[in-house]
C-alpha cells in the first residue's frame, strides 16, 4: 500500500468526506424542514376536520330545530284547530241539550239519564280543554316563540313562569335585561336550550328545591349561571370523557357551534353550579320580528 500517492489519497479523502458531510447536513436540514411542513399540513387538516365537524353539528342542530318547528306547526294548525272545533261542537251540543230539554227527554224515556248525560258531556268538554292546554304547552316547549319575538330574557322569564305552574320548587332569575344585547337567533336559541337542559338536569338528578338562574354581561361575554341546592356532583368527573351524560354532551355540542364554554363548580357543601360563557356578538338590529309564531327556516350549509 505504500504505492499510494499521498496527494491523490488526500484529495480523494477530502472530496469524499466533504461530499458525505454535505449529504449529512442536507439530511439534517431536510428532516427539520420536512417535519415542520408535515406538521403544518397535519394541523391544517385537523383544522379543516374540526370546521367540518362544527358545520355538521350546526346542520344537525338546525335540522333538529326545523323539525321541532314543523311538529309544533302541525300540532298548532292541525291538532289544535281540530281540538278547538271539537270544543266548539261540544259547546254547541251542550247549548242544544239545555235549550231543548223536552227534546232531550224525548230521546230517552228514562229521566234519570239526564244528569249522567250532563256529566259525560262536561267531562268530555273538560278533557278537550285539558288536551288543548297540553297541546299549547307542548307547542310552546317545542318552539319558544317568545325567544324569537322578545329575546332571551323574556323567554327565560316565560319558562320560569311555566315551571312555577307545574313544579313545586322555587326558581329565581336574576338579570338586568338592559345589559344583555340581542344576539343572533342561533346564539339565543342555543343559550335558551342550554338553560332548559341545565334546569331539567337539576330537577331530574339534583333533588333540589331551589334553582337560581343568573344572566349577565361579564368582560365582553354573556354569562349564564344555573345554580341549584341539590345533592351536587363531582365537577372533575364531568371533565373525563365518557362520564358526561347525553344532556351535558348536548350542551357541549351547542356551545362548540357558538364558540362558548361551560364550567361546573361546587358552590358549597350542597348543590352545583354550571357557568356558561359565550362571546358577545355585535348588537342585533332591534327591528321587530314578524309575528308569525312558527317561521319555517331553511337549513344553511
Amino acid at each position: 500500500m505504500t504505492a499510494f500517492n499521498p496527494e491523490q489519497v488526500r484529495f480523494a479523502i477530502l472530496i469524499a468526506t466533504l461530499v458525505m458531510l454535505m449529504m449529512a447536513v442536507f439530511a439534517i436540514v431536510f428532516v427539520i424542514y420536512y417535519q415542520q411542513r408535515r406538521l403544518e399540513q397535519e394541523k391544517k387538516l385537523r383544522d379543516i376536520e374540526k370546521s367540518y365537524q362544527k358545520m355538521l353539528l350546526e346542520t344537525a342542530l338546525h335540522s333538529e330545530e326545523s323539525e321541532r318547528r314543523r311538529i309544533a306547526q302541525d300540532l298548532h294548525d292541525d291538532i289544535g284547530t281540530m281540538l278547538s272545533l271539537t270544543k266548539l261542537s261540544l259547546n254547541q251540543l251542550t247549548k242544544i241539550l239545555y235549550k231543548d230539554s223536552s227534546r232531550l227527554f224525548s230521546f230517552s224515556s228514562d229521566t234519570s239519564n239526564s244528569p249522567r248525560t250532563e256529566l259525560t258531556l262536561s267531562k268530555a268538554q273538560s278533557l278537550v280543554e285539558e288536551t288543548i292546554v297540553h297541546v299549547r304547552r307542548i307547542t310552546r316547549d317545542l318552539v319558544p316563540t317568545t325567544l324569537d319575538q322578545f329575546g332571551l330574557v323574556a323567554a327565560i322569564e316565560e319558562f320560569i313562569q311555566r315551571m312555577g305552574e307545574s313544579y313545586v320548587l322555587s326558581v329565581q332569575f336574576h338579570c338586568d335585561s338592559e345589559d344583555i344585547p340581542r344576539q343572533s337567533p342561533k346564539v339565543e336559541l342555543a343559550l335558551y336550550r342550554i338553560m332548559q337542559e341545565l334546569v331539567n338536569n337539576a330537577i331530574k338528578h339534583a333533588n333540589c328545591d331551589e334553582i337560581v338562574i343568573d344572566l349577565r354581561l361579564e368582560q365582553g361575554k354573556i354569562e349564564l349561571q344555573v345554580t341549584d341546592n341539590g345533592k351536587g356532583f363531582d365537577p372533575t368527573a364531568i371533565q373525563i370523557i365518557g362520564q358526561a351524560g347525553l344532556g351535558l354532551r348536548n350542551i357541549e355540542s351547542r356551545l362548540s357551534v357558538i364558540n362558548g364554554s361551560v364550567n361546573y363548580h361546587k358552590p358549597g357543601l350542597r348543590g352545583a353550579r354550571a357557568r356558561v360563557q359565550i362571546p358577545v356578538e355585535p348588537e342585533r338590529n332591534p327591528k321587530p320580528e314578524p309575528l308569525h309564531p312558527f317561521r319555517r327556516t331553511t337549513i344553511k350549509g
Binding site: L14, M20, L21, M23, I28
Partner: protein, 231 residues
C-alpha cells in the same frame, strides 16, 4: 513535560479529548432528567474521556495506543446503537439493532486479529481494517431510519427542541465525516509510516468536536418537558 510537548505538537487532537468535558459538564447539570438513551451517551462520554486521556498518555510517552482504540470500537458501537434501541418504536428494527450489537463484538475482535496477525507485538499494533467502516455504515443507517420514523410518526411537535435529534445529527456528522477516512487509518497509523496526509489528518478531530457540540445541545435540551417524544 511530555504531555505539554504532545499537546503542542497535536493541539487539535488534544482539544478533541478535552472538549469532552463540555457535554460531560452539561450531563452533570441535567443528570436528573436523563433517560436510558442519554444514560448510554453519558457512559460513552465518560469512557471516551478515559480512553482519550489514556491514549494521550501513551502517545506522549511514545507508545502505541491503537490497541485501546481497537477495544473501544465495539463498546462505542454497542453504546450508540443501544441509544437507538431505546428510541426506536418499531420492534422489528429494535430486534435487528440487538442482533447487530451482539454480532459486532466478535466481528471487531476478528477484525483486530485479521489486521494484526502477531497480537503480541504491541509496538507495531495496527487499527482494525473494517470494523470502523462497518460501524459507520450501521450508525448512519440507524440515524437515517430514525429520521424516517420521526417524519412518519409525527410524534415530535418541534424537532429543534427534541434532544435525541441533536444526538442523531452529531452521530451523522461524525460518521459521515469519518466513513471514508476510516479505511485509511490502517495505512496511515503505522509506527513506520510512509503515507503522510498533512492537514487532512485533522479532519476527524474537527468532525469529532462538531459532533460533541451537537451532543451538548441535545443534552442541554433534556429538560423534563422535553424528555418525552411529544416534545
Amino acid at each position: 513535560m511530555a504531555y505539554l510537548s504532545y499537546i503542542e505538537r497535536y493541539p487539535l487532537a488534544s482539544f478533541a479529548v478535552f472538549f469532552l468535558i463540555v457535554p460531560l459538564g452539561l450531563v452533570w447539570v441535567r443528570y436528573r432528567h436523563l433517560g436510558k438513551a442519554f444514560g448510554l451517551l453519558l457512559t460513552f462520554l465518560a469512557l471516551d474521556l478515559a480512553v482519550g486521556i489514556w491514549m494521550l498518555h501513551l502517545a506522549a510517552h511514545r507508545s502505541n495506543n491503537l490497541l485501546l482504540l481497537n477495544i473501544f470500537v465495539p463498546f462505542r458501537y454497542v453504546l450508540f446503537s443501544g441509544m437507538f434501541y431505546f428510541n426506536f418504536r418499531s420492534p422489528r428494527i429494535k430486534r435487528i439493532i440487538l442482533y447487530t450489537m451482539i454480532a459486532f463484538g466478535p466481528f471487531a475482535l476478528l477484525d483486530i486479529y485479521a489486521s494484526n496477525l502477531n497480537l503480541a507485538d504491541l509496538h507495531n499494533h495496527l487499527v482494525g481494517r473494517y470494523s470502523q467502516v462497518v460501524e459507520s455504515a450501521l450508525i448512519i443507517l440507524w440515524v437515517l431510519l430514525y429520521f424516517y420514523e420521526i417524519i412518519n410518526s409525527l410524534k415530535v411537535s418541534n424537532i429543534l427542541t427534541y434532544p435525541f435529534f441533536w444526538v442523531c445529527a452529531g452521530l451523522l456528522i461524525f460518521y459521515s465525516g469519518n466513513i471514508f477516512y476510516f479505511p485509511f487509518w490502517y495505512y496511515i497509523n503505522k509506527w513506520e509510516n510512509n503515507l503522510r496526509l498533512g492537514w487532512v489528518e485533522d479532519v476527524p478531530y474537527i468532525v469529532e468536536i462538531i459532533s460533541l457540540s451537537l451532543f451538548s445541545i441535545g443534552i442541554w435540551l433534556t429538560r423534563p418537558h422535553h424528555d418525552s417524544i411529544q416534545s
